[in-house]
């Protein structure tokens, strides 16, 4: 009996302890948090300007917002704070927000071009030093202010921060022109042998802002957030842009192409010119350094397979030589893309292709010399490209529609 009472008292004591130790001093209620979905980083010449896109849970949970009905209520609110350091700016948010900023659900960090050109080591330090912000957050750069990007609503998604992350993930998976660069990847690139990295551009396409819910009363919205060019960084500073074609070349050379579409010119027997469109479904690039008589050069072997999804020329796709011609045209196209990107990288003095790591790994002794002035070694290294393109399927039609109509005309 006595032991039963003792056991019961122990159980009660343990339960009481559970009540008293719910998170100790770090206890915080959900309604005390301001969940941040996107962060913007600007620089006003003297101070960091941090902008936060904060969720309004009531607006999201009630289905009101950009996608729902009822009284329009914005699902997010955007505000900014200033400070000499990033954390100081964040601290000032306590002076204007009733809730504590919570970064664990932050999906993207947008940095302005000005910040990118100034350098943003401080931002990377904040991410690695504090447990709140996560290193998987995607980084994007914008030509204007980051705050303006955060103020835009997006079509189809309620939370713009989430939407921006989805766009870059979808782009990297389906078009492979721009890569998704999480914070840890950026840190890896900038501390790598080449000390160079890339960042996708996000910009507002259109003259007006889509920052009010009124815009969603029409079938078209005045402006959209769009991904554009590729920002090139060297030694933690942005040094320029690459266009989308060059950016695709970078993706090929970094072996990051998952799926993309290329359009190659074609000419049929009647001399009519058009385009074939091929979707690349598999791609593998092996970039290898080669040392010949003390001169470093690179060889890129690209193996690609894809599907024909559109043909504008009168071609009989039963004929293997026609297919080989199409493959050869695609190979040339990819070769040009790769060489164009390589040349641009050399002109900018930024090895964003991982060439330095490959040289270091293959020629560790020579690397000791090259590493002293890698940019000039890289700048003089020629690239040889070999592409092997295989069209695995013609789609559901073996002859182009143009071929059929031409034949009917003749017939």
């Amino acid at each position: 009996m006595r032991s039963t009472i003792r056991s019961a008292m122990m159980v009660v004591l343990l339960l009481l302890l559970c009540v008293a130790t719910t998170g100790c001093w770090n206890r915080i209620e959900l309604n005390e948090l301001a969940i941040t979905s996107a962060t913007g980083v600007d620089w006003d010449g003297q101070n960091w300007v941090m902008s936060y896109q904060v969720l309004i849970p009531a607006a999201i949970s009630s289905g009101i917002g950009t996608a729902g009905g009822g009284t329009p209520q914005s699902p997010v609110i955007v505000y900014s704070t200033k400070g000499k350091s990033i954390r100081e700016a964040m601290m000032h948010s306590y002076s204007e927000s009733p809730r504590k900023l919570f970064y664990a659900h932050n999906r993207v960090v947008i940095i302005s071009e000005e910040v990118a050109r100034r350098g943003f080591n401080e931002l990377l330090d904040v991410y690695f030093r504090n447990s709140g912000p996560r290193e998987t957050v995607s980084m994007l750069v914008t030509p204007g202010t980051a705050r303006r990007v955060l103020e835009q609503f997006m079509q189809l998604v309620i939370i713009p921060g989430e939407g921006m992350k989805d766009i870059i993930m979808s782009e990297a998976r389906n078009a492979s022109v721009l890569p998704n660069i999480p914070v840890y990847q950026m840190a890896m690139n900038l501390t790598s042998d080449a000390k160079s990295s890339v960042l996708p551009e996000i910009y507002i396409s259109g003259n007006e802002d889509t920052s009010t819910l009124d815009s969603f009363t029409h079938t078209t919205i005045p402006s959209k957030l769009k991904l554009g060019r590729l920002a090139i960084l060297h030694n933690d500073r942005m040094i320029g842009w690459m266009n989308r074609k060059q950016s695709l070349g970078v993706s090929f050379l970094r072996d990051e192409v998952k799926q993309t579409t290329i359009t190659t010119p074609c000419t049929d027997e009647q001399g009519h010119s058009g385009f074939d469109t091929l979707v690349i479904q598999r791609s593998s690039t092996k970039l290898k350094p080669k040392l010949t008589e003390g001169k470093l050069s690179y060889n890129a072997k690209v193996h690609v397979s894809g599907v024909l999804t559109e043909s504008d020329c009168a071609q009989n796709l039963y004929k293997p030589d026609i297919i080989m011609k199409m493959e050869s045209a695609a190979e040339q196209q990819i070769q040009q893309v790769l060489k164009g990107a390589w040349k641009k990288g050399q002109q900018m003095g930024a090895d964003v292709f991982g060439a330095a790591e490959k040289a270091h790994r293959k020629y560790p002794k020579a690397w000791k010399q090259w590493s002293k002035d890698w940019n000039s070694v890289f700048g003089e290294a020629p690239l040889e490209v070999q592409v092997d393109f295989r069209i695995t399927r013609m789609g559901l039609s073996n002859k182009s529609f143009q071929y059929m109509t031409d034949k009917n005309k003749k017939g």
Binding site: C24, A104, S131, R134, E135, P182, A187
Partner: protein, 368 residues
């Protein structure tokens, strides 16, 4: 003294006495010295660790079934036995303080940054003391249970990280040079030398003859975990980024994202790792209590446990007012400390035992 620990539980005690703090500190130190060759240093240390494990087991196997300090006294004399007992007691006490502080710092950095560290330390010491109060068997059973959890969580973590792993980050091999690789070997080797806990634990084993198996398997198991964390963290982040990380193991798991439904899973790894830390703290607190109780011939080990726990709380709070001081102590100042207690003293004991072999043979000891 009851012989109540199975061989598997002994393996679990050895692994949990080494890896919890080792996976936290060793990858950073090894990669800091040897860059992408850090894993080679860990591999070299693993080979040396097996040799140390064999040597420790060989010493243990000569024990005719007495508690470690009783055996030492019977062979080397009472005064030497008391001296060694107090020395080892001091070692286990200091190591316990260091481990608790390391765990408290981690919890403060990662999870409970607003909770006063004193509170964390008190809770950790209290839980360790509670575990010890139930005897070595309770601790051994917890260690085995935690080992099973590790065997589940480690393959899952590696599997989820698989897409991010790029083994080319380990190339070129031997780029750091022999000196830097040699320096990088010291930290993992010293951690692996904590297999010396077997000197205290072996008399409690049900099958003392299997101490060699437990020692070698424990050492290899610990080395594998260390190697895995070093190789994978380098392969995912590259050596330069790992160098600036305080806890690469958790950064590694923290980047896992499978679609939008499996992410932020490091809490599972932290939870299991936290359990291993509690086992480690309990093992070292047990060592301290055991050594002081027997060396000083104290009658009640419970009173010793209570006093040592109180002293430990005070020591942990006062010794390292700043986290950096503790980091400096773990990485640099503890090197001679570990070397003395895990390598030099066991070597001296082995020499003493060899020198007094005649006395042991008279008492019917087993051959090594």
């Amino acid at each position: 003294m009851k012989r109540e620990i199975s061989t598997l539980q002994t393996v679990a005690i050895v692994i949990n006495a080494i890896t919890p703090t080792a996976v936290l500190s060793v990858p950073g130190v090894a990669i800091g010295f040897a860059s992408n060759d850090g894993w080679i240093a860990v591999l070299i240390a693993a080979a040396a660790g097996v040799i140390i494990a064999i040597a420790m087991a060989a010493i243990c196997r000569r024990n005719p079934g007495l508690l470690f300090l009783e055996w030492i006294e019977s062979r080397l004399g009472t005064a030497t036995g008391i001296f060694i007992g107090v020395l080892l007691g001091v070692y286990y006490f200091n190591a316990f303080c260091m481990i608790v502080r390391e765990f408290a710092n981690f919890i403060e950095d990662m999870v409970l940054d607003e909770t006063p560290i004193v509170m964390l330390i008190v809770v950790m010491v209290a839980v360790s003391a509670f575990s010890i109060a139930h005897g070595i068997e309770a601790m051994a059973r917890s260690a085995a249970l935690v080992l099973y959890l590790i065997m589940i969580i480690v393959p899952i973590s590696v599997g989820l990280n698989f897409d991010d792993i790029n083994f080319k980050e380990l190339l070129p091999f031997f780029d750091a040079g022999a000196t830097r690789i040699g320096l990088a070997t010291i930290a993992p080797l010293l951690w692996l030398s904590e297999v010396s806990i077997l000197l205290i634990v072996q008399p409690y084993m049900k099958y003392p003859k299997s101490v060699m198996r437990a020692s070698v398997i424990g050492s290899i198991g610990s080395s594998l975990q260390l190697l895995l964390v070093t190789v994978i963290s380098t392969s995912i982040f590259g050596a330069d980024v790992v160098r600036m990380m305080s806890y690469p193991l958790f950064n590694m798991v923290g980047i896992v994202e499978v679609g939008e439904f499996v992410e932020r899973i490091e809490i599972f790894t932290i939870s299991v790792w936290g359990m291993t830390m509690y086992v480690k703290m309990a093992v070292f607190l047990f060592g301290a209590v055991h050594c002081f109780t027997h060396a000083l011939r104290l009658k009640s080990s419970m009173h010793v446990l209570f006093s040592i726990s109180l002293l430990a709380v005070a020591t942990i709070i006062v010794t390292w007012p700043r986290n950096t001081e503790h980091g400096q102590y773990v990485m640099i100042e503890s090197v001679p400390f570990f070397t003395l207690f895990n390598l030099i003293i066991p070597a001296c004991i082995a020499i003493g035992l060899l020198a007094t072999r005649g006395r042991g043979a008279a008492k019917g000891e087993q051959a090594p």
